[in-house]
Amino acid sequence: MIQEKAKLQELLELDKKHFFHPTSAVKSQQESGPAFIFTEGKGVYLHDESGRKVIDGMSSLWNVNVGHGRRELGEAALEQMSKLAFSSSFASFSNEPAIRLAAKIAELAPGDLNAVFFTSGGSEANDTAYKLARHYWLLKGQPDRQKIISRTKAYHGVNIGATSATGLKPFRDFTNSLAPDFHYADHMSTEELRRVIEEEGPETVAAFVAEPVQGAGGVHIAPDGYFKEVRRICDEYGILFITDEVITGFGRTGTFFGIEHDEVVPDMMCFAKGVTSGYAPLGGVVFSESLYKELGDLSTGTLLHGYTYSGHPMACAVALKNIEIIEQEGLVANAERMGAELLKGFEAIKAERSIVRSVRARGLMGAVELATPAGSEPLAPTVVAEAAKHGLICRSVTFDGQDTLVFAPPLIINETEIKELIVSLNTALQEVEKAMGSEGE
């Protein structure tokens, strides 16, 4: 016991001193150390150094789709690393896991999306899509098509290109110089998209990029028919349509890919996260058959784009195993069923908790919007802290005046665990209401 406490203290101190955390409050981390030091995960649960057990209501970063502690994924990695841990995919070198994974993703992806370019993650996938879109127009002899249009509240990653495409302004304001030629249309309106295209000049627009359901921006579901109209507009102006399925891919929304709800096929599709359920870093872009062919036909020399870890054998082997699990365990259908349960729970909470304004979910991506009291700070961060005390990890979104809690539990979640999540969330909301009530007295 004493030893455990000493170890915990040591880790806290080392973390504060040496571990510069991504997307964290730097000051509070340097002063107070990490919020959790996780030690193991099992199913939908995470355990930490101090003995706490919490339900991972975010699948960590929307990515641990098959849940924690899957030994078979570790075994797949071990087997591949023991045989061939790494080899290059540049200069047309290849390896079996990458080949098989590309073919598998082509089989799963909608329509004629058939050729896969691998990256290490979602940010790189987005940058790859934008760069290759622009490169395509160069090859096509339309060098003026350089602009990328994305949506307000969009989140596409933190590489320079992906940051530039991100519609959430604080991410862009974080640095003082970005990639040029990115523009934003209202995230719910195709008229606005048309207006921006017209304003910028259609002949200068390379591509439009959109998340089928916006994730980090607050789980926003576009109106019915939105994406059908987007496809029509892109076709009309000859603009490439890119979907960012980094969060929505691999079952998250109750279909294999999020765009399937809208029955349209993009020209390029970014993916990452759920492709390996986070067991290995991997992302990529799937290109339509025609685009892939055209790039082949038009290109003369070497494609000067690629990452060291593009086509990483171990990551690809893990992805293949992960997809096998998703298929064999029927996790896409489970996400749809459990998503309905989750929404039912949210609605029950909404009926009881006065601080809840509205709720929504598509598959296992859900949001609970809070009613911020006039003149007050958003409540969501307090609810998140309170929920952690009651054994639930979720995330707050406060960009653009939002006050929202978002959820994305692992796709393996069952009814009991959904109820647990709902009860813990309700308790946290109740505590916050109670605290507000007592402040008012």
Binding site: K389, H390, E417, I418, I422, V423, N426
Partner: protein
């Protein structure tokens, strides 16, 4: 259930179907007095028999009940509604009191006490109290009778029983078997009908020396007042408001199982049913999630159908009460997780219900619900949960789930309750003293404590 048009008949209604399952002549003052006269006249002969002789008859009765257990269970399910497996369980449980007291009656030991004078001797004897009136409820139509009648008969008392007018059929059937076993009709009588008339007749009768009552605290208080005039000895098993405490280290699956056993048995209509669930805030989500899921799988239906877990509640008034408690809780901010509605159909069914986020201002946290509703509240510290658990006039049963021995002892000692189940949702057995503190009643039933309720103590001081 009485039919106003036919004043002389009790109609017994099956709460699962609304159908009449039995018609009985409605008895009153006249029959109550006749039974009391007979019991009074039979007392000296019955109390004069040896314990062994009474034991033989009680064991005969036990054997006959055992032989008819399926028939009795079915009859009980028809008039009371509980699932057949529970009815059969109750018959066996009821019968265990008969065999236990058939034995224990033989050990009604006295005492000798060293005197203060070398020429004196002090002997303490226990003698039967006299004629006993037993007034029993509908929730356990058999067990509440044998729990009183068996120790009374074993001690040498004669007994008049008034079962609930909702469930008299099981009572009369038990009496028939007793007569068949050789217990004289004057020694044990069942009178059913107008509860006020029968009760008042007995309460005014000075020859009835003892009242043993199981029922609501309200009626218990009324009977206690009425008993004052003739200074009857009293045993009162009254209402409860059982807390169910889950500590952070508890085995949650075991706790869920225990809660289901303690809460939903008999559709929540037992006086030791859990009424308030207190779960430590760190495991409230996990516990309540598991509970709600398990409860949503319980099958509601006619108790006679195979696979039924939850039968109807006894009548419309009972249904209205659960409904009102659920509505009040939801209005005050509780989160409905499963159930919450009438089940529909002919009978008085209510879905087994779990609510989260219960607070102490809700009716279900203040009053006995006597229905299938489990309100789950959270707590932070041990002292807090003991205080909240005790914050009620009731003190019958309490439940505690923990693996920590020190916590188990500290909390159980802090609870002002007559019965504490530690990791045990079903504590009732014939050899243990069942009974409540505070306004949950007086006296104990079961074990040697239960026999003492039917005797008077006499000490004899002899000068040589």
């Amino acid at each position: 259930m009485m039919n106003a048009a036919a004043v002389d008949i009790i109609e017994v209604i099956n709460p699962a179907t609304g159908q009449i399952v039995g018609r009985l002549p409605k008895q009153g003052q006249k029959e109550a007095k006749q039974a009391a006269d007979a019991a009074h006249n039979a007392f000296s002969e019955w109390s004069g028999r040896t314990a062994e002789e009474r034991s033989v008859l009680l064991m005969n009765w036990h054997r006959l009940i055992s032989q008819s257990e399926k028939e009795l269970a079915k009859l009980m399910t028809k008039e009371q509604g509980k699932p057949l497996k529970e009815a059969l369980g109750e018959i066996r449980y009821a019968n265990s009191y008969i065999s236990w007291y058939a034995e224990e009656g033989k050990r009604l030991y006295g005492q000798t006490i060293p005197a203060s004078d070398r020429n004196k001797r002090i002997i303490v004897q226990k003698q039967p109290v006299g004629v006993v009136a037993a007034i029993t409820p509908w929730n356990f139509p058999a067990a509440m009778i044998t729990r009183k009648v068996a120790p009374a008969l074993a001690a040498g008392c004669t007994v008049v029983v008034k079962p609930s007018e909702f469930t008299p059929l099981t009572a009369f059937k038990l009496a028939e078997l007793a007569y068949e076993a050789g217990i004289p009709r004057d020694v044990l009588a069942v009178v059913a009908g107008d509860p006020a008339e029968i009760g008042d007749t007995w309460m005014k009768d000075g020859r009835i020396r003892k009242l043993s009552f199981t029922g609501s605290t309200g009626i218990g208080k009324l009977l206690m007042k009425k008993a004052a005039d003739t200074m009857k000895k009293l045993s009162l098993e009254l209402g409860g408001h059982a807390p169910f405490i889950v500590m952070p280290d508890a085995d949650l699956d075991q706790a869920v199982e225990g809660l289901i056993a303690s809460k939903y048995r008999n559709a929540g209509q037992t006086c030791i049913c859990t009424n308030r669930v207190f779960v430590h805030e760190s495991c409230a989500g996990a516990f309540t999630g598991k509970l709600a899921e398990a409860v949503s799988k319980l099958k509601v239906g006619n108790g006679l159908d195979a696979g039924t877990d939850i039968g109807p509640v006894i009548n419309q008034a009972a249904l209205e009460k659960v409904k009102a408690h659920v509505e009040d809780a939801v209005l005050k901010g509780a989160l409905l997780l499963s159930g919450g509605r009438e089940h529909g159909g002919q009978g008085t069914f209510f879905e087994p219900t779990v609510i989260a986020g219960a607070t102490d201002d809700m009716l279900c946290m203040k009053e006995e619900t006597f229905g299938p509703l489990a309100p789950v509240a959270t707590f932070q510290t041990m002292d807090e949960v003991i205080r909240r658990a005790n914050n009620t006039p009731y003190g019958l049963a309490a439940y505690l789930y923990t693996k920590n021995l020190s916590d188990a002892i500290r909390i159980s000692e802090g609870l002002e309750y007559g019965i504490v189940g530690i990791n045990d949702g079903l504590p009732s057995v014939s050899q243990a003293p069942f009974g409540g503190w505070k306004q949950s009643g007086l006296g104990r039933e079961g074990g040697h404590y239960g026999l003492d309720e039917y005797v008077e103590v006499k000490y004899i001081s002899m000068h040589l």
